[in-house]
Symmetry: C2
Subunit: 400 residues, 2 copies
Amino acid sequence: MTRVINWCVVMLVLSNARLFLENLLRYGVLADPTQVIPLFLKDPYSWPAMCLLIVSNVFILVALYTERQLSKGSFSELVGFLLHCINMAVMLTFPAAVVLLVPSVTPVGGAVVLGTYTILLLKLYSYKDVNLWCREMSTQKAKKLARSLSCEQQVCYPGNLTLKDIYYFTFAPTLCYELNFPRSPNIRMSFMFRRLFEMLFFTQLLVGLTQQWMIPVIQSSMKPLEDMDLSRMTERLLRLAVPNHLLWLLFFYWFFHSSLNFTAELLRFGDRQFYKDWWNSETVTYFWQNWNIPVHKWCIRHFYKPLLRKGFSKMVSQSAVFFLSAFFHEYLVSVPLRMFRLWAFMGMMAQLPLAWFVGRFLRGNYGNAAVWLSLIIGQPIAVLMYVHDYYVLNYGQETN
Amino acid sequence: MTRVINWCVVMLVLSNARLFLENLLRYGVLADPTQVIPLFLKDPYSWPAMCLLIVSNVFILVALYTERQLSKGSFSELVGFLLHCINMAVMLTFPAAVVLLVPSVTPVGGAVVLGTYTILLLKLYSYKDVNLWCREMSTQKAKKLARSLSCEQQVCYPGNLTLKDIYYFTFAPTLCYELNFPRSPNIRMSFMFRRLFEMLFFTQLLVGLTQQWMIPVIQSSMKPLEDMDLSRMTERLLRLAVPNHLLWLLFFYWFFHSSLNFTAELLRFGDRQFYKDWWNSETVTYFWQNWNIPVHKWCIRHFYKPLLRKGFSKMVSQSAVFFLSAFFHEYLVSVPLRMFRLWAFMGMMAQLPLAWFVGRFLRGNYGNAAVWLSLIIGQPIAVLMYVHDYYVLNYGQETN
């Protein structure tokens, strides 16, 4: 088997060295880190994305204020629930409205803002839930949550309702609130700086490869897509698949290994399980359960299990999780691009029949190959569809 | 490990599907089996290659006649030895002279003729040796060869010196003569027809892929090679490496599995070890010892061991084998192309320092990867060098 790998690796390295050389000969050096700035800034005197990020603190404070009033009994549970709902509804709609209506927000800036707001929304939802469970527990309910809420020489409810605590949670690399997070005893400097170095290096690499490899392929795909030339479209799609997949792998390492570990080390955050062995997935379900552990844990704790407790079946609850995920995928793509095409939504919802098909007909190695294939081919299809529609919509102003 | 293979296979299949589609879109369908005919025939009324193949029977008959006279004692050993030497010297020089001097011999036709003559030369050398050993044994020498020369209900020397026997040996898929070859009891029809089908199918595939994939790449490499544009030359070399390697693998299967097994089945020839597991080679030496077993066996039996018996060291004998192999590689390439560049000779001789280097510094998996790399990269370097020189030499007449 290792012989086959040797052969495959030699062939892949040579093939891609050739593509790299061909790319350099055809386009010259396109990588230029300074070109990243206009992606965030259209008008250098107006920083709408930055303003939105500063405003996000308001929602954190509202959530903390609401919980404090609830803990003192100043608000009834209903009033608190309504306040939280309004707070979160505004978090979802207000930045989206700003991104849609303020013309100086760029797509990349918009995506960063909406991503940050979405993460914060999930965190504050968890914050609300856990504090509610604490109050319920003090009335002898929800004993199963004893571990994370137990009170031996640790912070007890309502002692956790401090500014320091909620801001630690805001920056901690998790979406699930706990009163007493596991903490590491000290900061390992060499580990932290290695992760920092990786973050900086992979940022440069991601930007450079996107400029040098992705963008020329995408640009050369516009003509075949407009003409609906099927064979050329397929060729461009397969051409895009390799750099797209490589960038996704690099992004995965950059975000889930380097960045989250760096943050965790800096904050002495003890729980480092940010991903599991999704590369061994033999089913689509296993992939979605293991590639993004923070989101997976949140979905299980605050969405899937509550649904089960309310009496919904596993099937319905699982579908609901995919539906929620599909909604946020669409939200994070459509709003920054200012166009609603439902490709991202349908892409996520298509995971349900795909998961059924792979689980039903392909097992073991074939299942694994099918997961890889859907990863490698599925993403560039979505990328090409959105980029194409974006170019067509903004043809007059955007292309030159 | 199988997960890594899955990923590699998916990536390789997608990459090459893309290349295949790009090739079709750029060049259209170039494969055309009728274009094979002009490779063999320049002038449809003159078939010099075919004539040479018919003439080769003369050398078989001379060898048989010489051995018969030797067995009867009509010729002394010295006269017989000289006759064999003259016969083989003419076999080496006469077809080469015809290929060089007759302008209607095409490079492909010339290569086929010289290849056939070389195989026949090796066979007749073995024939001469074994018959000599038989005579020596009858004077109580060379007892070690007892197995192949033993005489129980089988053919004994000089009963083997018949026209039927020497022609069976001529067509049998081996280079080492034996008085009594191992034979299979009957012809397995389904096995034979499967091999025949493979032969026909892979012939078509080899021709089609060469026309569709190799030739456009080689043609587009001529300009960078003339300009000595190093980066573009490297890009073309890597571009050529993939189809060249695939064609070599197909050729290997076509010749060593399909064709030799078909011939063996048809002739009820029992010894089917035409190749061993060269793909597991961890050293260059192992590769050369295992990829072409008929030639390897001949070299050991009629060249390496006789040299050892004459008192040469293993090192010297091994180098002599590589030297002989280098001579024939050069002979089979330079003469049909009518140009002497020594690339093939030096390519084979370079195996000696390469074998030393890989054996000394790279072991196990790294050695295996090095063997693959030298196979995948070494061949297209030689191909490009010869094709380039051939085009430059025949520029006025050959290119259009």
